[in-house]
């Protein structure tokens, strides 16, 4: 009898906890990054960030050793591939040297603003999330360092993601691998505009509606303005793909960034995309100030072709 009562009590508690969890999830999804959930996350981050940093610092050598061990099996194969790739790249480098010089000259001539000119904050990854299903990273810089929601996060190889939650001393980066993230992009060769969406750990998916030309394998895809500063490498087209009977072009894109080896990242804090600002804020702004917004958001093919695709991007992600 006593056992039965205890079972009954625990079942009642079990149901109560399930209901609480269900309600929390509902409120959190509905609140869209604001409200009690954010306050709780802020508190948890404040408490756990120092512990995570300490644990990360203490275990880094061990983690590096284990990581290297797990990579040994694939190193030989990778070495052969790299040797072949090195030979072909060596030949290409000479060919591209002239093109690169020409490109740099054109950039200077056109006065194109590259992302590197914007103010940035260097941050370190403190946590890769709490499970294998997480497509985000936590960094050790937050609003105290000028980081705000929507800021682009990059590394040398290209776009990592964007900030989707900010606290005083930490922030969460939503990776471009997340299926909820869409990035307005431009094919660097054909200059066709489209958008790239995440596909979990699989390659990104490039979609170009009304594509007039095929996306060629090896072509670099870069940001086309809008929510991200333009000109940041997103990835490389894996296989040549063409428009299919008027349904648009769909191609797979290998991200430029190796997400498993991220340690330090750069957060671009000086970019203020027009469509990321609330309408009321825009109306209250001095017209002169409004005119001083970055001009790259009006680049051809960026806003005109995909105005809504990115609006429903990471802002809509949990």
């Amino acid at each position: 009898m006593q056992s039965f009562q205890r079972f009954d009590r625990s079942t009642s508690l079990f149901i109560v906890l399930l209901v609480v969890a269900f309600m929390l999830a509902t409120f959190d999804v509905r609140s869209d990054g604001t409200g009690v959930g954010t306050t709780m996350r802020d508190g948890a981050q404040t408490l756990f960030s120092p512990l995570q940093e300490a644990a990360s610092a203490v275990t880094r050598p061990v983690v590096g050793f284990i990581d290297a061990l797990s990579d040994i099996a694939s190193l030989r194969e990778e070495n052969d591939e790299l040797r072949e790739e090195n030979d072909s790249l060596r030949a290409e480098v000479e060919e591209f040297a002239g093109v690169q010089a020409e490109l740099e000259l054109l950039r200077e001539l056109n006065g194109v603003e590259v992302p590197d000119d914007l103010p940035t904050v260097v941050a370190r990854i403190t946590s890769p999330g709490s499970s294998s299903f997480d497509l985000d990273r936590w960094i050790n810089k937050g609003s105290d360092d000028g980081i705000s929601i929507g800021d682009a996060v990059i590394v040398e190889q290209g776009l990592v993601g964007r900030i989707d939650q900010v606290f005083d001393g930490s922030a969460r980066v939503r990776l471009i691998l997340d299926p909820n993230v869409r990035v307005a992009v431009r094919d660097a060769v054909t200059d066709q505009a489209g958008f790239v969406t995440g596909n979990n750990t699989d390659p990104l998916v490039l979609r170009i509606f009304q594509a007039e030309e095929a996306a060629i394998a090896g072509t670099i895809v870069e940001t086309a303005g809008s929510r991200f500063p333009s000109g940041i490498v997103v990835g490389t087209v894996i296989e040549t793909a063409a428009d299919e009977a008027g349904f648009g072009l769909v191609a797979e894109v290998e991200p430029g960034v190796s997400f498993s080896s991220l340690d330090f990242v750069i957060v671009i804090v000086g970019y203020s995309p027009l469509d990321a600002q609330p309408q009321d804020d825009l109306l209250e702004q001095d017209p002169v100030e409004s005119e001083e917004q970055p001009t790259d958001t009006t680049e051809p093919g960026a806003e005109t072709t995909e105005p809504s695709s990115e609006t429903a991007t990471t802002e809509g992600s949990p």
């Binding site: 625990s10 609480v20 969890a21 929390l24 959190d28 981050q45 890769p128 499970s131 299926p179």
Partner: protein, 170 residues
């Protein structure tokens, strides 16, 4: 079971959460693109030695901490872990205790936790099923947890099991 046991179990869960979020995961220890559900193993190990109500609250708390420090909506891991602890509580009174039973239990409960998280997450708008890697992310943590359990369970038994042993069979 005393309040000290529950406090100790809670402390172990907090330490496990720190380890899970700082040591395991992409860019850290993440063999074959997946990492063990370390926190779940600690919760299951602790749940063997404490009463059902605190065990359920422990599972819920552990899940909440993972939700707060992860990218998923609040409550998803809390829900999964609560269900898993509830199932483990039902089984601990029926199954014979032993390495094999514990191994099978940990494996099955890890699968259950991950599957529940994916299903409930999908209902809440998460897009987990766009990639085949999702199968790997369900299976591999369950396999890794077998190895983790072989270390964690004896350790928790040493810390909590000296006074009272409910076990998966009591």
């Amino acid at each position: 079971m005393t309040g000290r046991d529950v406090s100790l179990a809670l402390l172990m869960v907090v330490v496990a959460v720190v380890i899970q979020t700082a040591v395991f995961g992409d860019g850290r220890i993440n063999p074959f693109g997946s990492s063990p559900a370390f926190v779940l193993v600690v919760v299951l190990a602790c749940a063997r030695y404490i009463d059902p109500a605190p065990a359920l609250l422990l599972g819920f708390t552990a899940g909440m901490l993972l939700d707060l420090l992860g990218g998923s909506p609040l409550g998803l891991w809390a829900m999964s872990y609560t269900v898993v602890v509830y199932v483990s509580l039902r089984f601990r009174d029926r199954a014979d205790d032993g390495p094999l039973v514990i191994g099978v239990g940990v494996f099955a409960l890890t699968l259950l936790a991950n599957a529940l998280f994916l299903i409930v997450g999908t209902l809440f708008g998460e897009r987990f099923f766009t990639s085949t890697a999702v199968i790997k992310n369900i299976l591999l943590p369950a396999v890794y947890n077998l190895a983790v359990a072989s270390v964690v369970f004896p350790l928790v038994t040493r810390l909590l099991g000296s006074r009272r042993h409910l076990g998966w069979s009591s």
